[in-house]
Amino acid sequence: MSFISYLVTGISLGSVYAIIALGYTMVYGIAKMLNFAHGDVIMIGGYVVFVAVSNLGINPYVAILISMAVCTVLGVVVEKVAYKPLRNASPLAVLITAIGVSYLLQNVALLIFGSDTKAFTSVVTMKNITLFDGQLIIPGVAVVTVLACIVIMIGLSLFIKKTKAGRAMVAVSEDKGAAQLMGINVNGTISLTFAIGSGLAAIAGVLLCSAYPSLTPYTGAMPGIKAFVAAVFGGIGSIPGAMIGGILLGIIENLSKAYISSQMADAIVFAVLIIVLLVRPTGILGKNIQEKV
């Protein structure tokens, strides 16, 4: 029974990774950059809900909406100010800038909220599910997280396939120049991608903090990096890939914690990344792109 219980928490954690990885994968697909700061948007999302609920006494569901709005604006502003001017710069410059933005967000949060850990009150009110006479307890948060992840993935897939804006995203990720010539607003599409990714990050933040109720300025950094691992694992640029990669990674992490060593769990997750990149650099569902000479 304990194995199933570990598996369930693994899937739940993996679902959070999957939601974060969606943001990574969309931005990587379109802007061809590793948005290192994506993980820290999660942390900001968590703080917004924390302040709204604990300090201002706002209804948790309204707080989530506010948090999504704040993160969406944040994502778009970061893109416009820091990334857009560097669209034709060397990849090294873009990556360094993204690292800078990540640090900026962490340290602004540190100055505003301090370094002490905030106890986050879960916004999920669903009761735990008890099965097999109490031998297996499935936390309500886990159920909500997995459901949220599935809903988001289906919604996002439909959005990309069925709407004009979604198809524009695909076009821009294939070929910016050609998309521009076809009358697509490339800058607008990139902003929209950052907006969606950051909005999702807010949801991920709330779910993450509900499952692991401690919040510090560094809360987002590690899950962010792991979510990138998940995105690479699943195949960067692929939405179902992000979902599969995230959930697999969550399971791997939780089972290693339970059966191998809690200290080594992170090392094992990173080892997965290295193995995937060496054996199949394009991930489970990724496409192969060759450099033109």
Binding site: P85, N88, V101, Y103, L110, F270, I274
Partner: protein
């Protein structure tokens, strides 16, 4: 005829000077800074706070110039530099602690310890480099970060002891080492290594800085350095003129790792207790070193030295600034990149350069 050959000679000399002159200025700067600090020390004009900063400062300078070899000369972003430093720190501390009684001469012991650090970090650099250097750009950056974290995690989980039967290693706890009563535990997992001899000092630190600078500068201005830079500038063209990509990437990466190991030895022999925390060996440290490199100018060794010194001293000197230290680093990173690459600032810089040229001409 004689005059011509003379002219040629001086011309040749001048050219040689031009390449090495720049490097010599850097070395001279380091020496002058060292002399000034020594005078301040002797006359008692250096606060104890600053005295405590001297060895860490040397560590950061070595880390910055060695990372600049990977970022500026090889052109790949490594976020795992602190991992190599960690290997160097622990291997050398382990060596010194284990042989504290066998080698009485401090200087000799530390010298060998530094070699141990350089060798183990280089070995680790080769092991990491084989898979990592096949990747490019963002993937390479994230995998080096992953390796750095793996190294830190493993070291945090290792228990190591010695007794009359030899070395015992465990990944669970001290008890499972199964040591005899006379045995000694050297690495205690997350509690790290305690009792490393205090062999580091400022003078050794400066000597190591100079050595690192000489190694890197000489490398850059050699056949090997040109091969490495050609890969950075255009991999396909480098291959087309017969440059062995893997070999030269590997050489640069390994030398960079091994110098980070040397910095680790300097670091660990300055502390009585050495633990692998996210603060000193995590990717935050790697990124801090990257800030030094970026601010000093990517590929500019002298810049790395200056940036490492200023960014370490400034927050310590201006009290109250320390809280804003990381914030300042973050803004520095973003601002430097935007200034160097944004089309608007690039156009502005060109305009200013044009203006400067014109005014100079008018003056003439």
């Amino acid at each position: 005829m004689i005059m011509m050959s003379e002219q040629k000679k001086t011309k040749g000399k001048l050219k040689l000077n031009k390449v090495t002159k720049n490097d010599l200025i850097t070395y001279l700067m380091v020496v002058i800074a060292y002399v000034i600090v020594e005078i301040l020390l002797k006359t008692g004009n250096l606060s104890s706070l600053l005295q405590g900063l001297l060895v860490p400062l040397c560590t950061y300078v070595i880390l910055a110039v060695s990372l600049n070899l990977t970022v500026g000369i090889l052109g790949e972003l490594s976020l795992g530099h602190a991992g190599f430093m960690c290997i160097g720190a622990f291997s050398s501390a382990l060596f010194s602690l284990g042989l504290k009684d066998s080698i009485a001469n401090e200087g000799l012991r530390f010298f060998i310890a530094i070699l141990v650090a350089a060798a183990s970090a280089a070995l680790c650099g080769i092991l990491v480099g084989i898979p990592v250097l096949r990747l490019k750009g963002d993937y390479l950056a994230i995998v080096t970060l992953a390796f750095g974290e793996i190294i830190k995690n493993i070291i945090n989980a290792i228990y190591l002891g010695v007794d009359s039967h030899g070395i015992h290693i465990s990944m669970t706890d001290t008890m499972s080492l199964g040591l005899e009563p006379d045995g000694k535990v050297l690495i205690k997992g997350a509690q790290g290594i305690t009792g490393t001899p205090h062999d580091s000092n400022f003078t050794i630190g400066v000597v190591l800085i100079l050595l690192s600078l000489i190694i890197i500068n000489n490398l850059v201005h050699s056949r090997t350095g040109r091969a490495v830079m050609s890969i950075r500038d255009n991999r396909i063209a480098a291959e087309s003129v017969g440059i062995n990509i893997t070999k030269y990437k590997m050489i640069a990466f390994t030398i960079s790792a091994s110098l980070a190991g040397v910095a680790g030895a300097l670091y660990s022999h300055n502390l009585s207790t050495l633990t692998a925390l996210p603060k000193n060996f995590g990717y935050n440290m790697s990124i801090m070193i990257l800030v030094f490199v970026v601010l000093g100018g990517i590929g500019n060794m002298r810049g790395s030295v200056i940036a490492a010194v200023i960014l370490t001293l400034l927050p310590e000197l201006l009290r109250g600034l320390n809280n804003y230290r990381m914030l300042i680093y973050a803004i520095v990173l973003i601002a430097m990149m935007l200034f160097n690459w944004s089309p608007r600032t690039v156009a502005w810089k060109e305009k200013m350069a044009e203006k400067l040229k014109r005014t100079k001409k008018e003056e003439v």
